[in-house]
């Protein structure tokens, strides 16, 4: 059956950042240099702290999540985001593999001891975790920073999947 595009329908998206260097956020804003006229009319940013102040954790079609999870508090936040998203995309190396943000997981004992007081003071988790250790991840854009071409393909797929354009 042929689908009909719904006029003025936008893809409801969120962009979320956990422990990382935010390189994929930066790359996303650079991709907009070429694609903003193509993409922005079809995107409704429900939550994107880097772009706007008034954000709400509401139902979303697609959420892009970069960064690794460094504490139990952040794991809870991620679960809340997952509950609001039809599709969750892990973006960039830290979200997909944990590294390099998870490098403290691999520290030898002596090095680990030297940071223990800090982990305790600010309630860090025992280990830094990648997203799919905590929630279901529907798609991944690996790379440090994320692979640009893969991201472009994915966002176009999402426009199709949700019958936007």
């Amino acid at each position: 059956m042929k689908k009909t595009l719904e006029k003025n329908k936008k893809l409801k998206v969120g962009w979320f950042t956990f422990s990382c260097c935010e390189d994929s956020t930066v790359l996303f804003t650079e991709l907009l240099n070429e694609h903003w006229q193509d993409w922005l009319p079809y995107l409704d940013f429900k939550h994107a702290k880097v772009l706007k102040s008034k954000n709400s954790l509401t139902d979303m079609d697609v959420v892009f999540v970069e960064g690794a999870i460094a504490s139990e508090e952040k794991a809870k936040e991620l679960k809340k985001i997952r509950a609001k998203a039809k599709v969750l995309v892990a973006v960039g190396a830290c979200a997909v593999t944990g590294m390099p943000s998870a490098q403290r997981n691999e520290f030898p004992e002596e090095l680990r001891k030297s940071i223990d007081f800090l982990l305790e003071k600010f309630n860090y988790g025992e280990k830094v975790r990648r997203l799919d250790e905590i929630v279901k991840v529907d798609a991944k854009v690996p790379g440090c920073p994320m692979n640009e071409q893969k991201f472009i393909e994915l966002i176009e797929q999402m426009f199709k999947k949700f019958n936007i354009k």
């Binding site: 950042t17 422990s19 990382c20 260097c21 935010e22 390189d23 994929s24 956020t25 930066v26 790359l27 804003t29 650079e30 907009l32 240099n33 070429e34 903003w36 922005l40 940013f45 702290k49 880097v50 772009l51 706007k52 102040s53 008034k54 954000n55 460094a70 504490s71 952040k74 390099p100 943000s101 490098q103 403290r104 520290f107 090095l111 030297s114 940071i115 800090l118 600010f122 860090y124 440090c144 920073p145």
Partner: protein
């Protein structure tokens, strides 16, 4: 006068790099404290480089920050080269300068257009700009055109604008194609009028927060972000290697970052400090076209950091055009560096201010110690003092307005929480 008691808490400051919060307490009409809290989790980079070969360090430390990865990469390469007593070739220095101009254009444009401009137009986001309004339509197009010019320049010289693959200790893995210079020059000339519009916009902005404070930056005769001596407002001068001796680490128990004072005083770093100290070194074409704007410096108005950044975008454009017109790149492979046990320091001006990388290695080239000091840590106390000053003078204003203005003040500093939370300070107690 009424006695006023209130708390102001902003859990998540938006349109900044990374996660930060703000707590203000006012008791009996006096600001009791201002706490600017860096909330990003530490990623322990200076711990992680211990035991790694020196050649692996620059690409790893680039990952401290996405937006200013080029600054960390070049500072780290400089630290490696100083450690190994190596002086790069003139061509390498020129390519690094161009790579860096790309960073300045891109990074300042992201800050000014995407983070700050909505405040100027009383909008929540650039996404709300009205395409049917002539000025807003123009600025929306300018945003992506200017960012693109910086992005393309760094791609041209360094392979990518984030975590660039070509710059390495000893040179560049790939030398740019001379045939592509023309395209870059044309793009720079094309966005130049947009940047002049941006400068005009910030010159006419009524925002004001004047609180005299010391400032410091690398000073030199060609507005280099990579070389020079560190100077402050009072003429205190430090060689790059001595910079650390002038800094005092201040522990702020509520923040995941470290704060610093310079020569015992709170101070500011960044574009405002650089233009205050070194405007005579700007490109002559920039100076000619910014006569009015440059008259406001030296300035102690915190918001003038935005104007200073806009001028720096123009300077990077003009310098890039001049360099590309006057130079042809020759094929060259990176030099091989001889290992030795030593300590080296790299100091650069990151977009947000002075960035310091220090490395110590053994005779096999294995890292035994590392230290990184970022601009946001250096600005932290000054940000808090500015906010305290603003709140104290505006206690009668509605809380919403105070919160909004506090965010604007913080944004003017262009803080980067990814940078500020990369490491563990060894003397943290």
């Amino acid at each position: 006068m009424h006695l006023i008691d209130f708390d102001l808490n902003i859990n998540e400051i938006t349109k900044v790099e990374g996660s930060a919060g703000l707590d203000v307490k006012v008791t009996n009409g006096k600001v009791e404290y201002v706490k600017f809290k860096v909330q990003d989790y530490k990623r322990f980079y200076t711990q992680a480089i211990k035991g790694k070969p020196i050649t692996a360090v620059p690409q790893l430390l680039s990952r401290i920050c996405g937006t200013c990865s080029i600054a960390h990469l070049i500072a780290s390469i400089e630290a490696v080269e100083k450690t190994l007593n190596y002086e790069p070739s003139l061509q390498t220095k020129i390519l690094r300068t161009l790579t860096y101009h790309g960073l300045i254009i891109r990074d300042h444009a992201l800050h000014l257009y995407v983070f700050v401009l909505p405040d100027l137009f009383k909008k929540d986001s650039l996404l709300e700009f009205d395409e049917n309004d002539k000025l807003q339509h123009q600025l929306l197009h300018d945003t992506f055109a200017v960012k693109s010019a910086g992005n393309n320049l760094t791609k041209y010289t360094a392979g990518r604008s984030v975590h660039a693959p070509f710059p390495v200790p000893g040179g560049f893995l790939k030398i740019p194609d001379n045939n592509e210079k023309k395209t870059i020059i044309e793009e720079m000339e094309k966005v130049r009028p947009a940047v002049l519009r941006l400068i005009e916009l910030f010159l006419n902005s009524p925002d004001q927060l004047v609180r005299p404070t010391n400032y410091a930056a690398l000073k030199n005769d060609d507005y280099s972000y990579l070389e020079g001596k560190i100077c402050d407002m009072n003429g205190v001068i430090a060689e790059e290697t001595e910079f650390r001796n002038h800094l005092e680490h201040v522990v702020l128990p509520y923040s995941q970052a470290s704060a610093y004072t310079f020569a015992g005083q709170p101070y500011r770093v960044g574009a405002l400090a650089r233009i205050n100290l070194n405007q005579q070194a700007l490109n002559s074409r920039t100076k000619k076209d910014c006569l009015q704007a440059l008259k406001v410096f030296p300035s102690h108005n915190a918001y003038h950091n935005n104007l200073a950044q806009a001028i720096e975008i123009l300077n990077s454009i003009d310098d890039t055009i001049e360099i590309l017109k006057n130079n042809n790149f020759k094929p060259a492979k990176p030099d091989k560096l001889e290992l030795r046990a030593a300590t080296g320091v790299g100091v650069v001006e990151a977009p947000r201010g002075t960035l310091y990388h220090k490395l110590t290695i053994d005779d096999k080239g294995i890292v035994t110690e590392g230290e990184v000091i970022v601009p946001t840590g250096q600005n932290q106390i000054t940000i808090e003092l500015d906010i305290a000053e603003y709140i104290q003078k505006n206690l009668d204003r509605p809380k919403d307005e105070l919160a909004l203005t506090c965010e604007k003040i913080i944004r003017a500093y262009d803080p980067c929480m990814s940078c500020a939370s990369h490491f563990l300070e060894i003397n943290w107690l």
